[in-house]
Symmetry: C2
Subunit: 349 residues, 2 copies
Amino acid sequence: MVIESNRKVNVAIIGFGSVGRALARVLALKRRDIYNRYGINISIVAIVDSKGMAIKPEGFDEYELLKLSELPRSSVNMFKPYAVDGVDLEKLYNTVTPDIHVELTPSDYSTGKPGVDNVFFAISRGAHLVLANKAPLVLKFRELIDKAKSRGLEVRFRATVLGGTPFIDTLMSMKSYEIDRIEGIINATTNFILTEMHDKLIEFSEALKIAQALGIAEANPSLDIDGIDAAAKLVIISNIVGTPIKLEDVYRESLSRITLRDIVDAIKQGFVIKYIATLNIRERSASVRIARVPRNDIFAQINGTLNGLRIKTNVAELIFIGKGGGGIETAHSVLDDIISIAQKVVGSR
Amino acid sequence: MVIESNRKVNVAIIGFGSVGRALARVLALKRRDIYNRYGINISIVAIVDSKGMAIKPEGFDEYELLKLSELPRSSVNMFKPYAVDGVDLEKLYNTVTPDIHVELTPSDYSTGKPGVDNVFFAISRGAHLVLANKAPLVLKFRELIDKAKSRGLEVRFRATVLGGTPFIDTLMSMKSYEIDRIEGIINATTNFILTEMHDKLIEFSEALKIAQALGIAEANPSLDIDGIDAAAKLVIISNIVGTPIKLEDVYRESLSRITLRDIVDAIKQGFVIKYIATLNIRERSASVRIARVPRNDIFAQINGTLNGLRIKTNVAELIFIGKGGGGIETAHSVLDDIISIAQKVVGSR
């Protein structure tokens, strides 16, 4: 296709697991369509994984994106002739000039590595940010937003909460409301486990095994079943609504405590058991708890890997239900963020 | 409060029924807060109803806004010394210079008056637009958006669909998705009537009387119970997703056909009856129908004046539930639109 060069927006993808691969595939399919609809040419100039980098200043074409997405994990450094051994963002930024830095590395809430370092480096080099890695937002929200703002850079992270939906942007757009409380089911793995326990009347350990077999739970499922992932999402939400809470201040109950007996007792009394994350803005408190929900409550209908959030404001209540994540759903959220920023980049030229 | 004058954004409110009055009250309460949070001073320079205008170039203060909201209907022309008899937008725009024109007149889908004329006049005078009146969007969507765009003006209308929620903006922000189908319960009056029929096992006419007594249904309820309001909302949605459908092309079943017998039969078989609006984007068709919904479907939990919409995309499904409208809820949506535009107006100075 013939594309005006001032419509080209350079994108670097840092982290190339399931979301990164899905993003490469979706982009291979949709680049032309995005150009036709929005007048922007998204050009992937670099892809980085844990072992190396693939860099192409003029941008990978559709076929190359598909091939990259089919390489074994951690082997973009085999993608000749664009392969570079080892990860060196300085070298990357000296070779290509990303307009948008897409941070998809895993969320590490202890060290923040490599996400925190990566995104601050990106800001120092004048790149706008799209994040699916939650750690930089959980650990350094204010600093990140302020630094970016002071350089006129955008930071978007729609993929981090209810990744398959535009929840984050919706929350941000509620400018005139006073939000009292946000609560919901925001971790897909644990909601899937609970749904299995209710539907098949099985114990937690068995439901967890099914989730692991299906790739819904990780081999080390602690982030999900100990409520850390949900707590991290609450921290991000708390920052958006201007009442920041720290990860260590979120009260957490591990879902591993739940037994089939608890489930059966709840069902008999007209309830279902859900793993509910709550941010109480007035009290500046947050929790991730095992809770009984009346069977006719909307939360009782949110099953499997669906997620849902209820926003209670001084005026009204809003409920948002959608996919919590998944490679392809999250990739679309990342892509929406990229498109939004790219439109501004092109518009300001 | 001391406010920098370059932070002042002039707003004219055209139409002063329940939403307009609620907006005046909310603004009286929140103006200071909005200034502190967003650095914009929303100044209401004119309020227009069906009989006259109240105009104050330096902007009404909080106390005046409250007093205006408590006047009898159609009597802003009694608000001395700012009263003007008769409606004359040309005179209004020659006296004050609204940055934002807020069109809250009633939706008339036959003649489009006065909304259509008002908003095109506003554009001709360089004012950004916020609409709660649906008629200009239903009858002249493309022309309106194009004219505004060509003059660099914003058009926002969050209040028109699921008025108590930011549904419209959320839909617009789903840039990378292909939307297949949007369906839901989008008229509060008819959902209230159906809920009453299910809960109290009463006939349609009786439920309608309750809705009228509570002010939920109008004396002439045809717009709601014949599905015209829901159809108008589908037309707006169809334009947003780029597959415009005309109001007369929406297939409509009147809810007045429903009997208690239908409800009881449905309940016995495990269903509830809902008034479902559907936009099928692939087929470019739209309908407002009486439908049976399985009792455990999420739509079956959307009762009373709640509304809900399901967006089905090529990737995922998203459900949005919230207040369909109401004076104060709709006023907040209008205010969110005003704030969004005002931020851009101030930012571009």
